[in-house]
Symmetry: C2
Amino acid sequence: MLYWEDFSVGQVFEGGPRPVTKEEIIAFAKRFDPQPFHIDEEAASRSIYGGLIASGWHTIGMAMRMLVDAVMSRYAAIPAPGVDEARWKKPVRPGDTLFLRVEILELIPSRSKPDRGVVRSRVTLNNQKGEEVLTLMPVNLYRRRPAAKA
Amino acid sequence: MLYWEDFSVGQVFEGGPRPVTKEEIIAFAKRFDPQPFHIDEEAASRSIYGGLIASGWHTIGMAMRMLVDAVMSRYAAIPAPGVDEARWKKPVRPGDTLFLRVEILELIPSRSKPDRGVVRSRVTLNNQKGEEVLTLMPVNLYRRRPAAKA
Protein backbone atom coordinates (compact mmCIF):
# COMPACT_ATOMS: atom_id res chain seq x y z
CA MET A 1 0.00 0.00 0.00
CA LEU A 2 1.25 3.46 -0.93
CA TYR A 3 0.67 6.63 1.09
CA TRP A 4 0.44 10.42 0.67
CA GLU A 5 4.25 10.63 1.02
CA ASP A 6 4.66 8.44 -2.06
CA PHE A 7 3.19 11.05 -4.45
CA SER A 8 5.42 13.70 -5.98
CA VAL A 9 4.50 16.97 -7.69
CA GLY A 10 4.67 16.56 -11.46
CA GLN A 11 4.07 12.81 -11.29
CA VAL A 12 1.84 11.53 -14.10
CA PHE A 13 -0.49 8.51 -14.11
CA GLU A 14 -2.19 7.16 -17.21
CA GLY A 15 -5.18 4.94 -17.85
CA GLY A 16 -7.23 3.50 -20.66
CA PRO A 17 -8.15 2.67 -23.35
CA ARG A 18 -11.81 2.76 -22.27
CA PRO A 19 -14.31 2.13 -25.07
CA VAL A 20 -17.72 3.85 -24.86
CA THR A 21 -20.87 2.10 -26.06
CA LYS A 22 -24.28 3.42 -27.05
CA GLU A 23 -25.97 1.00 -24.65
CA GLU A 24 -24.14 2.29 -21.59
CA ILE A 25 -24.63 5.95 -22.61
CA ILE A 26 -28.39 5.37 -22.72
CA ALA A 27 -28.50 3.20 -19.57
CA PHE A 28 -26.58 5.76 -17.46
CA ALA A 29 -28.61 8.71 -18.73
CA LYS A 30 -31.96 6.99 -18.18
CA ARG A 31 -31.09 6.71 -14.50
CA PHE A 32 -29.28 9.98 -13.86
CA ASP A 33 -29.61 12.46 -16.73
CA PRO A 34 -32.63 11.70 -18.95
CA GLN A 35 -32.26 14.56 -21.41
CA PRO A 36 -33.22 13.81 -25.04
CA PHE A 37 -29.68 14.19 -26.46
CA HIS A 38 -28.48 11.44 -24.04
CA ILE A 39 -31.30 8.88 -24.33
CA ASP A 40 -33.26 9.39 -27.56
CA GLU A 41 -31.35 8.48 -30.74
CA GLU A 42 -33.91 10.09 -33.01
CA ALA A 43 -34.06 13.39 -31.08
CA ALA A 44 -30.25 13.37 -30.77
CA SER A 45 -29.82 12.90 -34.53
CA ARG A 46 -31.87 16.07 -35.11
CA SER A 47 -29.84 18.07 -32.55
CA ILE A 48 -26.72 20.10 -33.34
CA TYR A 49 -24.69 17.11 -32.14
CA GLY A 50 -26.03 14.90 -34.93
CA GLY A 51 -26.34 11.90 -32.62
CA LEU A 52 -26.26 10.65 -29.03
CA ILE A 53 -23.72 12.14 -26.63
CA ALA A 54 -22.81 10.84 -23.18
CA SER A 55 -24.04 12.61 -20.07
CA GLY A 56 -21.19 14.67 -18.68
CA TRP A 57 -21.67 12.83 -15.37
CA HIS A 58 -21.23 9.53 -17.16
CA THR A 59 -17.99 10.84 -18.67
CA ILE A 60 -16.81 11.81 -15.19
CA GLY A 61 -17.89 8.39 -13.89
CA MET A 62 -15.71 6.71 -16.50
CA ALA A 63 -12.80 9.00 -15.56
CA MET A 64 -13.34 8.17 -11.88
CA ARG A 65 -13.23 4.45 -12.59
CA MET A 66 -9.98 4.85 -14.51
CA LEU A 67 -8.62 7.00 -11.67
CA VAL A 68 -9.48 4.34 -9.08
CA ASP A 69 -7.89 1.63 -11.21
CA ALA A 70 -4.73 3.62 -11.98
CA VAL A 71 -4.15 5.46 -8.70
CA MET A 72 -6.60 5.26 -5.82
CA SER A 73 -6.68 1.48 -5.54
CA ARG A 74 -2.91 1.45 -5.01
CA TYR A 75 -2.78 4.29 -2.48
CA ALA A 76 -4.50 4.66 0.91
CA ALA A 77 -7.35 6.85 -0.32
CA ILE A 78 -9.84 8.51 2.06
CA PRO A 79 -13.22 9.77 0.77
CA ALA A 80 -12.59 13.08 -0.99
CA PRO A 81 -13.99 16.48 0.01
CA GLY A 82 -14.78 17.60 -3.53
CA VAL A 83 -13.82 18.88 -6.95
CA ASP A 84 -12.72 22.42 -7.72
CA GLU A 85 -13.76 22.48 -11.37
CA ALA A 86 -15.07 20.22 -14.09
CA ARG A 87 -15.27 21.17 -17.77
CA TRP A 88 -16.78 19.11 -20.57
CA LYS A 89 -14.73 20.21 -23.57
CA LYS A 90 -16.10 18.02 -26.38
CA PRO A 91 -18.99 15.57 -26.71
CA VAL A 92 -18.29 11.90 -25.92
CA ARG A 93 -20.03 9.65 -28.45
CA PRO A 94 -20.77 5.95 -28.91
CA GLY A 95 -17.67 4.27 -30.37
CA ASP A 96 -15.24 6.73 -28.77
CA THR A 97 -12.27 5.41 -26.80
CA LEU A 98 -11.11 7.38 -23.76
CA PHE A 99 -7.65 7.78 -22.25
CA LEU A 100 -6.90 9.13 -18.77
CA ARG A 101 -4.06 11.39 -17.70
CA VAL A 102 -3.56 12.51 -14.10
CA GLU A 103 -0.91 15.06 -13.18
CA ILE A 104 -0.12 15.67 -9.52
CA LEU A 105 -0.11 19.43 -8.91
CA GLU A 106 0.18 19.98 -5.20
CA LEU A 107 0.69 18.01 -1.95
CA ILE A 108 -0.56 19.66 1.23
CA PRO A 109 -0.29 18.04 4.68
CA SER A 110 -3.50 18.42 6.68
CA ARG A 111 -3.12 20.83 9.59
CA SER A 112 -6.08 19.59 11.58
CA LYS A 113 -5.59 15.85 10.96
CA PRO A 114 -1.95 14.73 10.98
CA ASP A 115 -2.82 11.25 9.67
CA ARG A 116 -3.69 12.52 6.18
CA GLY A 117 -2.73 14.85 3.37
CA VAL A 118 -4.41 16.59 0.44
CA VAL A 119 -3.46 15.81 -3.16
CA ARG A 120 -4.53 18.27 -5.84
CA SER A 121 -4.33 17.02 -9.41
CA ARG A 122 -5.43 17.79 -12.94
CA VAL A 123 -7.37 14.93 -14.52
CA THR A 124 -7.91 14.95 -18.28
CA LEU A 125 -9.70 12.54 -20.58
CA ASN A 126 -8.77 12.46 -24.25
CA ASN A 127 -10.55 10.63 -27.03
CA GLN A 128 -9.02 8.46 -29.77
CA LYS A 129 -8.38 11.58 -31.91
CA GLY A 130 -6.33 13.15 -29.11
CA GLU A 131 -9.06 15.68 -28.35
CA GLU A 132 -9.52 16.69 -24.72
CA VAL A 133 -13.09 15.83 -23.73
CA LEU A 134 -12.92 16.44 -19.97
CA THR A 135 -10.82 18.30 -17.44
CA LEU A 136 -11.35 17.78 -13.73
CA MET A 137 -9.56 19.35 -10.75
CA PRO A 138 -10.22 16.99 -7.82
CA VAL A 139 -9.26 17.51 -4.21
CA ASN A 140 -8.27 14.10 -2.85
CA LEU A 141 -7.24 12.88 0.58
CA TYR A 142 -4.74 10.12 1.29
CA ARG A 143 -3.44 8.63 4.51
CA ARG A 144 0.07 9.50 5.61
CA ARG A 145 2.51 6.68 6.17
CA PRO A 146 2.17 5.43 9.75
CA ALA A 147 5.22 6.32 11.82
CA ALA A 148 7.56 3.42 12.55
CA LYS A 149 7.18 2.25 16.14
CA ALA A 150 9.93 3.77 18.28
CA MET B 1 -41.41 24.89 -23.09
CA LEU B 2 -39.65 27.51 -20.95
CA TYR B 3 -36.54 29.46 -21.97
CA TRP B 4 -33.57 31.29 -20.45
CA GLU B 5 -35.73 34.45 -20.13
CA ASP B 6 -38.11 32.56 -17.85
CA PHE B 7 -35.56 32.17 -15.04
CA SER B 8 -35.13 34.90 -12.44
CA VAL B 9 -32.31 35.51 -9.96
CA GLY B 10 -33.30 34.24 -6.52
CA GLN B 11 -35.79 31.72 -7.93
CA VAL B 12 -35.79 28.44 -6.02
CA PHE B 13 -36.66 24.95 -7.28
CA GLU B 14 -37.11 21.94 -5.05
CA GLY B 15 -37.05 18.19 -5.59
CA GLY B 16 -37.30 14.94 -3.68
CA PRO B 17 -37.78 12.95 -1.54
CA ARG B 18 -35.25 10.54 -3.08
CA PRO B 19 -34.62 7.39 -1.02
CA VAL B 20 -31.14 5.82 -1.21
CA THR B 21 -30.71 2.04 -1.10
CA LYS B 22 -27.74 -0.15 -0.29
CA GLU B 23 -28.18 -2.06 -3.54
CA GLU B 24 -27.84 1.01 -5.73
CA ILE B 25 -24.89 2.38 -3.72
CA ILE B 26 -23.02 -0.87 -4.37
CA ALA B 27 -24.14 -1.21 -8.00
CA PHE B 28 -23.05 2.35 -8.90
CA ALA B 29 -19.72 2.05 -7.12
CA LYS B 30 -18.88 -1.31 -8.68
CA ARG B 31 -19.06 0.34 -12.10
CA PHE B 32 -17.58 3.76 -11.41
CA ASP B 33 -15.91 4.02 -7.99
CA PRO B 34 -14.94 0.58 -6.60
CA GLN B 35 -13.35 1.71 -3.35
CA PRO B 36 -13.88 -0.54 -0.31
CA PHE B 37 -16.01 1.95 1.67
CA HIS B 38 -18.50 2.05 -1.26
CA ILE B 39 -18.76 -1.63 -2.21
CA ASP B 40 -17.65 -3.85 0.69
CA GLU B 41 -20.00 -3.86 3.69
CA GLU B 42 -17.51 -5.63 5.92
CA ALA B 43 -14.59 -3.29 5.11
CA ALA B 44 -16.93 -0.28 5.39
CA SER B 45 -18.12 -1.36 8.85
CA ARG B 46 -14.49 -1.34 10.05
CA SER B 47 -13.83 2.15 8.56
CA ILE B 48 -14.34 5.44 10.40
CA TYR B 49 -17.72 5.68 8.65
CA GLY B 50 -19.01 2.56 10.40
CA GLY B 51 -20.77 1.35 7.26
CA LEU B 52 -21.23 1.78 3.52
CA ILE B 53 -21.30 5.31 2.11
CA ALA B 54 -22.34 6.34 -1.40
CA SER B 55 -19.76 7.35 -3.98
CA GLY B 56 -19.74 11.12 -4.22
CA TRP B 57 -20.36 10.72 -7.95
CA HIS B 58 -23.43 8.65 -7.22
CA THR B 59 -24.67 11.41 -4.91
CA ILE B 60 -24.13 13.94 -7.71
CA GLY B 61 -25.89 11.59 -10.15
CA MET B 62 -28.93 11.51 -7.87
CA ALA B 63 -28.85 15.32 -7.61
CA MET B 64 -28.59 15.57 -11.40
CA ARG B 65 -31.64 13.34 -11.87
CA MET B 66 -33.64 15.48 -9.45
CA LEU B 67 -32.40 18.61 -11.25
CA VAL B 68 -33.51 17.25 -14.63
CA ASP B 69 -36.91 16.28 -13.24
CA ALA B 70 -37.47 19.60 -11.42
CA VAL B 71 -35.92 22.08 -13.86
CA MET B 72 -34.10 20.97 -16.99
CA SER B 73 -36.92 18.88 -18.44
CA ARG B 74 -39.24 21.93 -18.37
CA TYR B 75 -36.72 24.39 -19.86
CA ALA B 76 -34.87 24.32 -23.19
CA ALA B 77 -31.60 22.98 -21.79
CA ILE B 78 -28.42 22.73 -23.89
CA PRO B 79 -25.52 20.45 -22.80
CA ALA B 80 -23.64 22.24 -20.03
CA PRO B 81 -20.02 23.40 -20.12
CA GLY B 82 -19.19 22.32 -16.59
CA VAL B 83 -19.34 22.75 -12.85
CA ASP B 84 -17.42 25.34 -10.86
CA GLU B 85 -17.29 23.46 -7.57
CA ALA B 86 -18.61 20.34 -5.90
CA ARG B 87 -18.32 19.61 -2.18
CA TRP B 88 -19.36 16.42 -0.39
CA LYS B 89 -20.25 17.70 3.08
CA LYS B 90 -21.52 14.57 4.82
CA PRO B 91 -21.63 10.85 3.97
CA VAL B 92 -24.76 9.56 2.18
CA ARG B 93 -25.80 6.18 3.61
CA PRO B 94 -28.25 3.39 2.81
CA GLY B 95 -31.69 4.38 4.12
CA ASP B 96 -31.09 8.14 3.73
CA THR B 97 -33.64 10.27 1.92
CA LEU B 98 -32.39 13.20 -0.15
CA PHE B 99 -34.01 16.55 -0.93
CA LEU B 100 -32.91 18.96 -3.67
CA ARG B 101 -32.78 22.73 -3.55
CA VAL B 102 -31.68 24.84 -6.53
CA GLU B 103 -31.25 28.59 -6.21
CA ILE B 104 -30.71 30.66 -9.35
CA LEU B 105 -27.73 32.96 -8.76
CA GLU B 106 -26.93 34.65 -12.06
CA LEU B 107 -28.29 34.92 -15.62
CA ILE B 108 -25.75 35.86 -18.29
CA PRO B 109 -26.65 36.23 -21.99
CA SER B 110 -24.06 34.57 -24.24
CA ARG B 111 -22.01 37.14 -26.16
CA SER B 112 -20.82 34.79 -28.86
CA LYS B 113 -24.10 32.85 -29.37
CA PRO B 114 -27.21 35.03 -29.18
CA ASP B 115 -29.55 32.00 -29.15
CA ARG B 116 -28.54 30.99 -25.61
CA GLY B 117 -27.76 32.18 -22.11
CA VAL B 118 -25.83 30.96 -19.08
CA VAL B 119 -27.55 30.14 -15.79
CA ARG B 120 -25.40 29.88 -12.66
CA SER B 121 -27.04 28.23 -9.67
CA ARG B 122 -26.30 26.73 -6.28
CA VAL B 123 -27.52 23.16 -5.96
CA THR B 124 -27.74 21.59 -2.50
CA LEU B 125 -28.82 18.16 -1.35
CA ASN B 126 -30.02 17.70 2.22
CA ASN B 127 -30.75 14.45 3.99
CA GLN B 128 -33.78 13.58 6.13
CA LYS B 129 -32.10 15.17 9.19
CA GLY B 130 -31.75 18.48 7.35
CA GLU B 131 -27.98 18.04 7.03
CA GLU B 132 -26.37 19.37 3.85
CA VAL B 133 -24.65 16.44 2.12
CA LEU B 134 -23.73 18.06 -1.22
CA THR B 135 -23.22 21.50 -2.71
CA LEU B 136 -22.74 21.93 -6.44
CA MET B 137 -22.20 25.11 -8.48
CA PRO B 138 -23.14 24.17 -12.04
CA VAL B 139 -22.81 26.31 -15.14
CA ASN B 140 -25.83 25.56 -17.32
CA LEU B 141 -26.91 26.73 -20.78
CA TYR B 142 -30.48 27.30 -21.90
CA ARG B 143 -31.95 28.47 -25.20
CA ARG B 144 -33.31 32.00 -25.41
CA ARG B 145 -36.91 32.44 -26.44
CA PRO B 146 -37.09 32.58 -30.24
CA ALA B 147 -37.98 36.07 -31.47
CA ALA B 148 -41.54 36.45 -32.74
CA LYS B 149 -41.63 36.60 -36.55
CA ALA B 150 -41.86 40.24 -37.67
